[in-house]
Amino acid sequence: MILVLLLHLLVAIALAVFHRRLDKRAFLLGAVGPAATLLWSLANYDGVVAGAPVEQLVSWVPSLDLDIVFRVDAYALVFLLVIAGAGVPIFLYSQRYFTASRRATIFAATMTVFAGAMVGLVAADHLLALFVFWELTTISSYLLIGYKDEEASARSAALHAALVTGAGGLAMLGGMVLLANEAGTYVISELTANPPPATTAVSVGWALVLIGAVTKSAQFPFHAWLPGAMAAPTPASAFLHSATMVKAGIFLVGRLGVAAAGSVDWWQPVVLTLGATTMVLGGWRALRQTDLKLLLAFGTVSQLGFIFLLMGSGDPELVFGGVALLLSHALFKATLFLVVGAIDHETGTRDLRRLSGLRRSMPGLFWVATAASLSMAAVPLMLGFAAKEAAFVALLDENVWWVAIAAAASTLTVAYTVRFLRGAFGDHDVDRDPVFGRRLSAGDPLLTSPGALALASVVLGLVPTVLFPLTDAATAAVTGVAKAGKLVVWPGWVPALAWSLASLAGGLFLAGRSDLMRRAGDRVATVSSHLPDAEHTYRRSIPALLRFADRSSSVLQNGSLPAYLAIILIVAVVAPTVAVLTQSPSFAVPEGGSLLEWILGGLIIGFAVALAFIRRRFAVVILLGGVGYGIAALYSVFGGPDLTLTQLLVETLVIALFAFVLRHLPATFSRPVTAQLPRLAVALLVGAFVFGAGLFVNAARQPSSVAATYLEQSVPEAAGSNVVNVILVDFRAFDTLGEITVLVAAVLGAAGLVIPVIRNGRTGS
């Protein structure tokens, strides 16, 4: 498995490096990746389906419990087969679809990276590894959608997809961390075997993971990015946006659904509701499209909703139906996308109002599209029918209403399938400049690639039992229940068949009365135009977000140094205050103090307060000196003669320095122009905080044992009786060395700044 991943990486690098020499062979080289996945899957098929997962472990950072773990069970194998089975024909198709160019080669490299990331995503058994591969698919999807980077619409569609799935991915990461913390493991197979108990954290974790899956699989209300993603070249749409990447969310809910549904009881109803809403909404929107590719895209949204609902439910029968639908959907939808790509490639349009008579001019393509469409509409004898029948049977066991919703969505599916076929290949009056295709040669990959996929739909539809062991083993791998459903050509006369046939008939009726549909659609459109639309919400939310960022940065980052300082000070005061107050602290008011302290203290306070208001610079210097000398006197009251001496010396020097500097400056401070009241408020806040902190410290004061040791050891160890001096030059000599270094650095800096000024002054005078 690791070798397969490395091969993808190698191929991608080779494509990027040798793009000049490769030309059209680029996609042939790219096909090596999915082909290797296919071979690997087939080689391990028997063992995995028999219930023995392939596991591979590379110890990476054992001390952090970070291992690269891969584990391919039958459930992962289903996805691997889809990735490889769709990947190989799509790569071969791309070789014909693109004209050789440097960009096409880079496109091939990106597709290869994507294929590798997708393989890693389904094979990874570690939540964080899964996340990394998940984001890799987001990034490659962004690059592939934005392939036509000269078009603004393609760029914004790429950004839309990347923002929505990227944001979902981040939410998912948060959820994974929460879940892994509660469960005590990041290994997925261990997590699903022992789901964490339902605490609030676990509930939030599941919700975040669900958001990730919903965005990735384009579920309501985040479905709008997928139709936009149709700006990508068709091979990318067929590969990423129908067959594989959008299945990543489904993969995830399928993998975790049983654990989640067992852990929190809101999971199943939420998943079912989201899926059902998406299913109906997508089908309805598909009916109103005129672009063939958009029609298919909304169809994909609808089908994804159905599969999402089944897979995420955590119910074995539903999961069985989901796996079957997933396989059939990948086959027919990739086929249809490739057909549209071929039409677009040959005629230059995908607008069904301009296409006419393609049934005769492109007969091969027509039959391929018909086969895939029959499977999509779930006509009996096709794979789509067998899969949908399995799903209906399971839903019927659940609740009849769910079947009714699913059947309604299937009716819409049938209707838009007919609309697709008729629009693409039928004869009709075209609005303007009709275009006609031309016959594709039998060996043309534009025909053979979708042809091979369509053939698979037909053959597997006739013998669906071939798929049963895989589907069954996959269901058992995630739910632990075997034989949860059946895959048969003809189910016999069971109630589910009635629902299937009813939706088929209903769909054909709707398709026959297209005028009726159009009028009903217009009416719904006028009503729903008042409702919020996912695309509009997205478009409006991005400028709003940018505006919010602009506003907040223009408030916070306003360029004013005092404002920045005030913010810092307020945070520095409020944060510890809140932290201390929540701990119900005790405060102790100390005794008043001696008369000497009151006299000195009064003097210092007087000088300090005067400092704040006096504007004559030299008065300020004298007041500052007064404060310093007052403090020096206070130190001697506290029994610190060394401090008193140092403070006296330093204060004298400071006054001299101030006098020297202020000599050059104007005699008075200019009057401030801005309001002083906020400054005063911040100042009082800080003062009050210091006072409170003092009271708090006073209550918590403990005699320091270090001091006792220093006092005792001063004479015997350092032969000095002045303990403060001994600490500075002996016990903590290195600290003093550091202090001197700081002092020297400051003096050098100051000298460097001032000496040129003095020199100039001398030469100037």
Binding site: A152, R155, S156, A231, R539, P543, L546, R547, R551, S554, Q557, G559, L561, P590, E597, G601, I605, A612, V627, G639, G640, L643, T646, L657, F658, L665, F669, S670, P672, V682, V686, G687, A688, F689, V690, G694, R701, S704, V706, A707, L711, S714, V715, S721, N722, V723, V724, I727, D735, T736, V742, L743, A745, V747, G749, A750, A751, L753, V754, V757
Partner: protein, 126 residues
Amino acid sequence: MSLITLAVAAILFAVGTYLILQRMLSRVIIGLGLISHGANLLIMLAGTGPATPPVVTGEIAPTVADPLPQAMVLTAIVITFGITAFLLALALRSYLLTGTDAVEDDIEDRRIGRLDRADEEPEVAA
């Protein structure tokens, strides 16, 4: 610890804060000096109250001051002096170069703040 000294420390902090929030660079430096004084006093307050100097002559008296905060404050006084000297030199240089003692708004930040409507409309698919 005494109430009056704590009050002195708190007022030094308050006045110091008021001054560093000014635009005049020289007032900011004075404010910084006041805050340093206040911090030093707080450290001393965290030690013992009024006491005899920590000088050992025979028996260690019970009224002796805690030497540890004193050593710390001594270091702090000297470092504050170094910083004040450096800042004064900076203020002088700044005044001689720009002709004003005031700290102007950061022009770059101002421009970012005014960057409001320029990029309001991102590309949106038609």
